[in-house]
Symmetry: C2
Subunit: 212 residues, 2 copies
Amino acid sequence: MQLVAETARYRRGEIICHQGHAADFWYTVVRGVATRYVIRPDGRRQIIDLLLPGDIFGFTLWREHGSTSEAIAEETIVTRYPRCRTGQLLGSQSDVAQSVCEDVINALGRLEDHLLVMGRITACEKVGAFLIEIERRLAGQQAGIMLPISRYDIADYLAISVETVSRTLSDLRHRGLIQLTGPRAIKIVDREALEAGDGESSRTNPWRRAFQ
Amino acid sequence: MQLVAETARYRRGEIICHQGHAADFWYTVVRGVATRYVIRPDGRRQIIDLLLPGDIFGFTLWREHGSTSEAIAEETIVTRYPRCRTGQLLGSQSDVAQSVCEDVINALGRLEDHLLVMGRITACEKVGAFLIEIERRLAGQQAGIMLPISRYDIADYLAISVETVSRTLSDLRHRGLIQLTGPRAIKIVDREALEAGDGESSRTNPWRRAFQ
DNA sequence: CGCGGCATTGACTCATTTCAAAGGTGGTGG
DNA sequence: CCACCACCTTTGAAATGAGTCAATGCCGCG
């Protein structure tokens, strides 16, 4: 008999795996929330991935992890699998392999979505796109969403300053695009405008005319 | 006998696979350069991935591609594989499966690197990090690198304006961090400063003190 | 109660965008 | 062969959006 998987419970702030440490495992979130981030030489933190239940992470071809993963929510539960078995896993049971493969492609999709959000121009667009992304990934909530992360985390996820995040959310609220019943409790009112990233619905965007 | 792979040759500007079209294949670049991008509703283009020989792309769980892939260089050669066979492929020959799996994880790494470059603050840092990334991926060139893409492509890759790209390159040249022997021919002189993203090496960054 | 972390808001500065113009290059066709 | 055109590149000047610095309020917890 051989060890295949281990499940562990983390509290808010606890490290799941550390940048620079041996990449002996890959992981999936079972419950809770986690972030995967890189600390830059200048001390800034860039959140690369926001991990919700079902999300897979920790894949790398290197011997060491290039990023740190940290639990964000109390009671975050993560299952880890020995990396050495990944090859065998893919070679043997084709149904499990299929599933893991899909999860990896999902991770690819998450990163692409993140990239597209970061590629937006204004802070309004970024925050708006972030809210829509979160709502989509938290599908199941009926009315309103509960932000899984703090303003600071949003800032580091979008690579903008905390003040700008806060200001933008206030702005979106004043303009009636969202409702804020609490710092974490948000309800999307005007999804269209949010997707379009309307800095202001007036003053027509010249691009929109040029490209239909 | 069954069709497994097809190789095709594309000229600069030709589309390899189109956003919204059936995702029946996945691809690898054999020779040349390609980009994978998304056209936003407002007409802007975001380059998601820069594809060099050996790079794999086109993986998705959706029935349609979410992005368009376009050849950038004349004589770009791409091999495509039917998606339906991917499962069998991974299930059967474990050595090929291993290789494809590594390529997918490489694609993951490319996206993460891209994300980190985009997460930089100033245009100087972004362009500098981009140049270093390109140099790394083009490893093999001895002295200097030949940019595989235009200023416009760099702009859409970094989500900054063309003018800023051009200005920044001029600035880096004037400050002696790089040499520009032609629009595409670049030589990195001061790699340290480029990595640090020195807007100016003076005026110490407070962060650097706080975090060692 | 007081502390630490989180959130909000204001004022100022400045980098980047935007608008505008001009030079360079390669390809195509007359 | 040359002219023209489309595209790429560079630079300038003005406008503005986001970062930075600073202060305050909020809340949970020891």
